[in-house]
């Protein structure tokens, strides 16, 4: 039964710059099941945010989608015309960003920002009705509706983050892409935010793509997880399976490098080497220069993800 | 040693193309500006040799004649050749502007350094004075000075120079304040280096790069102010050959259709100003790369 809400097929995203072309996303495949939370993890520069941005074609120049398909309910977003794309944005697929202060226009009050979003997609609705919907949403988020007349800088970070979700969900989208939503929040606010996200997910029957370099929140929230490295897919599968039994050497390295207060560690584990140069990536498996299990094959051929009960790994150890 | 001119030219062009590739369009803007300026400077220096007539000669041909083979830019109401006047006029405008800029910069940088380094009440008062002058329309202040002084090269240079002193002052003072707080300056002070040494060795070299850009823009501005002053009849006596003054004179003949009297002087002023602006812009981009912006 195909209940995939989004299917990313062989996506390539390039950034042509003066010294060459950055292969930010290299042949990545990803499916999002209806109603799930999919975590997308990896270190800075691995391409996870770029992937998130390309779903709604929000890439900043000079970034371009160089190949592949992004299928949403059958239609390919990559080839979609402007009108349909604008229709999807905000109404069917929504996105929230890392820094809530800078994500809200400082010159407009919260109410106006809600109303504009609503009216963009439902232009017959009256301002009064739109404000009522906004007030409704605020109530659901636990914020007093009279704050609609306030400005972003008058609110706390946590509140702004909730407003951002509010605006994103006010039109009842199917899919929410959250790019590093908790990175700028302190731990307590982060916990509240994740609770809220969970609640809203159930209320709105949302599918969420949770992009983060914080493995902890992904472990907490996600049903499935995808690990990216060097612009490519490393591993994907159920979150319990991947985190309990990581297969890809990178995933293993990632998990083992998280400090554990219960263990008596004299030293922190690190992975030797440095992230790859995305303009001139290593031949074969992009992780091979740092891999403790590297084989001859790894240096020459790019590993294809191997299927095994939904737990895919792009590594010659399993291929 | 013999240098073949073609080889040298080839070498220059290849070096320029290299820089062009490295810095992109800013380099070419800089080059364009520099070429324009050099062209005009050359014209000013070689005016004696190239100009077909004496710019003061009131008998070079028919009165108010349109451009022709004999007179590339026509003649004015005193039967003087416009083209020759343009060539010699370049000397006046460039001379005044560059001299004024040099004076401005020396004075402005000096008091900026001292004020910024000394600090305290002296600095505060001086800053307030400089800010006040800076916020006031420069041209009007220059008009005031030029009006009160006897027309002459010195007066007009003085009038133009005074209004730019605050620009250098603010720039240099700002930088001095920042650099003053740097650790290496503190270290030098701890070892007992006297103020002058610190100013000279640490602060001044850091300030030079930005100042070069400001200087270029300054000359461009000074050109405009000089021309404006002489257009208004201030600053220079009629015996000096000057583009601004020729514009003022030519303006009277506009209704009768003698367009060449104003077109050429004005175009030259614009060209020179554009040259300096381009040079300044190019320099600014290259010395303070804002690669992210473009």
């Amino acid at each position: 039964m195909n209940s995939n809400i989004l299917e990313i097929e062989n996506l390539h995203v390039h950034f042509p710059i003066h010294i060459g072309t950055v292969h930010a996303v290299d042949n990545v495949c990803l499916d999002l099941h209806q109603g799930e939370v999919m975590g997308l993890v990896g270190e800075s520069g691995c391409g996870k945010s770029t992937l998130g941005f390309s779903i709604l074609k929000l890439l900043r120049p000079p970034g371009i989608i160089a190949g592949g398909k992004i299928r949403y309910h059958g239609s390919d977003i990559v080839k979609m015309d402007e009108k349909k794309l604008l229709d999807i944005r905000g109404k069917r697929i929504a996105m929230i960003f890392q820094d809530p202060l800078t994500s809200l226009n400082p010159l407009f009050c919260i109410g106006d920002q809600f109303v504009e979003t609503i009216k963009t997609h439902e232009n017959r609705i009256s301002k009064k009705e739109a404000l009522e919907r906004a007030a409704d949403m605020l109530r659901r988020l636990g914020i007093a509706p009279d704050r609609l007349s306030e400005y972003p800088h008058q609110m706390s970070g946590g509140m702004r983050q909730r407003i951002m979700i509010g605006i994103a969900l006010v039109l009842n989208p199917d899919l929410l892409i959250a790019d590093e939503p908790t990175t700028s929040l302190d731990v307590i606010v982060e916990a509240q935010f994740l609770d809220l996200l969970n609640e809203l997910r159930q209320q709105f029957n949302l599918t969420i793509l949770l992009i983060s370099h914080n493995i902890g929140i992904v472990a907490q929230m996600a049903d499935r997880v995808t690990v990216m490295y060097g612009g490519r897919l490393a591993e994907t599968g159920d979150v319990d399976a991947v985190f309990a039994e990581p297969r890809h050497p990178y995933t293993r390295g990632l998990l083992y490098s998280i400090p554990n207060i219960k263990l008596d560690q004299p030293e922190l584990h690190t992975m030797p080497g440095a992230p790859p140069d995305l303009v001139d990536p290593p031949a074969g498996c992009v992780f091979h220069p740092r891999c403790p299990h590297v084989m001859e094959k790894c240096r020459k051929d790019i590993p294809q993800p191997s299927k095994d009960n939904g737990h895919l790994t792009a590594c010659w150890l399993y291929g | 040693m013999k240098y073949s001119p073609t080889a040298t030219l080839a070498r220059i062009i290849s070096r320029w193309t290299q820089m062009g590739k490295k810095y992109g369009i800013e380099w070419w803007i800089l080059v364009a500006g520099a070429l324009i300026i050099m062209g005009v400077i050359l014209m000013a220096i070689l005016a004696n040799l190239i100009a077909p007539y004496n710019p003061h000669d009131q008998n070079t041909g028919p009165q108010l004649a349109p451009p022709s083979q004999d007179h590339f830019m026509g003649t004015d109401n005193l039967q003087r050749d416009v083209f020759s006047r343009i060539m010699f006029g370049a000397r006046t405008i460039l001379g005044v502007a560059i001299l004024a800029a040099i004076i401005s910069s020396i004075v402005g940088i000096a008091i900026g350094l001292i004020s910024g380094y000394a600090g305290g009440g002296f600095d505060k008062i001086l800053s307030l004075v400089m800010d006040s002058i800076y916020s006031f329309p420069g041209l009007i202040l220059a008009i005031a000075f030029a009006a009160m002084l006897e027309p002459g090269i010195i007066s007009i240079t003085f009038a133009v120079a005074v209004i730019y002193i605050p620009t250098y002052f603010r720039l240099v003072r700002g930088q001095t304040l920042t650099i003053k707080e740097e650790l290496y300056v503190e270290a030098a002070r701890a070892v007992g280096a006297p103020g002058i040494t610190i100013l000279a060795k640490y602060i001044f070299p850091n300030v030079i790069a930005t100042t070069a850009v400001v200087f270029t823009m300054n000359v461009g501005d000074a050109i405009m102010i000089e021309a404006a002053l002489t257009y208004l009849g201030l600053g220079l006596p009629p015996s000096v050959v000057d583009w601004g003054m020729d514009l003022a004179m030519g303006k009277k003949f506009l209704p009768s259709g003698q367009w060449w009297l104003i077109t050429f002087p004005g175009a030259m002023i614009s060209l020179l100003a554009v040259g300096f602006t381009m040079l300044g812009e190019g320099l600014a981009e290259i010395l303070n790369p804002r690669l992210l912006e473009h």
């Binding site: 504009e116 994103a168 | 008009i143 104003i262 614009s270 602006t277």
Partner: protein, 338 residues
């Protein structure tokens, strides 16, 4: 509200020392500069006694400090002295001519904003394209053109060759100014007096001078707007607005431009100085009866009190406008108040 008030008071207080300094400089320039105004006024060959008498009359014999103090006191009373040449109070001469300059600078600024801001925003949106580069080139070149030369060229093309617009004055020969003159701002006055023929005449006289002034200054605003827009377009809230499906044009010209415009408003305060300078040159070129032309007329006539008075008024205007713009900025941008 409390914060806003505090800001206004603070900002106003800052203006006072600046005005004071400018007034002092003006005093020094006009009084202390070499050259004896009185003897040149009397023709240079007048006998000593007559010169002394005249000086006594004008109070130029008193010690400099007293003259300075007197000068400041007079200004506080808004008494700018009397013209040395005409039987007229300086302040009256200025009052006559000031509205003309205000009208010119107002419409000049309008043109600058109408031309400069949209072009700058457009260039930023189409960054690195041919349109971007040509707009930027235009901006640089137009600012380098002397404003009076542009005026002369426009006069030549549109006034003389095409005969579309007048090239001098605020009104034509057949317009009866006294019939509507009230504030001195003729555009306003003719509307109030419901004299539409005069209104058309006034507007048509305004076209060339304000376009001249406005066009040259637009060069700065093109660059300013473009730079601010480039910054703003990188912001997260622009990205967020696009993510919500808001049309690109609206995102650029409403969301981005408004944010980019706010710092431009402050810039306008600084531009007043340049506007005034440009106005002086434009007035001379178009025989526009304003403060600039008054200044130059009196310079030729060596009427020092008037010269001083005009410059003082310029200084006060610049300081005042700068203050007002800063306050408006505080009103528009809610962040400044808190």
């Amino acid at each position: 509200m409390n914060n806003l008030l505090r800001y206004i008071i603070g900002r106003t207080l800052l203006t006072i020392p600046m005005i004071f300094i400018l007034l002092s400089i003006i005093f020094v320039v006009v009084r202390v500069m070499p050259g004896d105004p009185v003897s040149s006024m009397l023709g240079g060959h007048a006998p000593e006694k007559v010169i002394e008498q005249k000086k006594e009359e004008l109070g130029l014999n008193k010690p400099m400090i007293l003259q300075y103090g007197n000068y400041l006191l007079q200004i506080c009373r808004l008494d700018l002295g009397n013209s040395m040449i005409f039987k007229q109070r300086v302040i009256d001469a200025i009052r006559e001519k000031l509205p003309a300059t205000i009208e010119l600078t107002f419409f000049g600024m309008l043109i600058t904003l109408l031309v400069g801001v949209p072009l700058g925003a457009f260039a930023a949106d189409k960054r690195r394209s041919a349109q971007d580069y040509s707009i930027r080139l235009f901006g640089i070149v137009i600012y380098c053109i002397p404003v009076y030369w542009l005026g002369l060229m426009l006069q030549m093309i549109f006034g003389i060759w095409l005969d579309l617009f007048p090239i001098a004055g605020r009104t034509g020969a057949r317009v009866f100014v006294a019939g509507f003159d009230w504030s001195g701002l003729y555009v306003l006055d003719t509307i109030v007096a419901k004299d539409f023929t005069a209104f058309k005449d006034v507007i048509i006289h305004l076209v060339l001078p304000s376009v001249t002034l406005g066009l040259v200054l637009s060069g700065i605003f093109i660059r300013l707007t473009r730079a601010n827009m480039l910054d703003v377009l990188k912001s997260d809230y622009i990205l967020a607005a696009e993510a919500r499906g808001i049309r690109h044009r609206r995102v650029v010209y409403k969301h981005a431009l408004l944010n980019a415009f706010v710092p431009i408003l402050t810039m306008m305060g600084l531009q007043v100085a340049i506007l005034m300078a440009g106005a002086v040159l434009t007035e001379t070129t178009f025989s526009w009866p304003g403060m600039g032309r008054l200044l130059l007329e009196r310079i030729y006539l060596r009427d020092y009190p008037t010269i001083q008075g005009v410059i003082v008024v310029f200084a006060l205007i610049v300081a005042l406008v700068s203050l007002v713009v800063d306050i408006i900025y505080a009103l528009v941008d809610p962040r400044v108040r808190y």
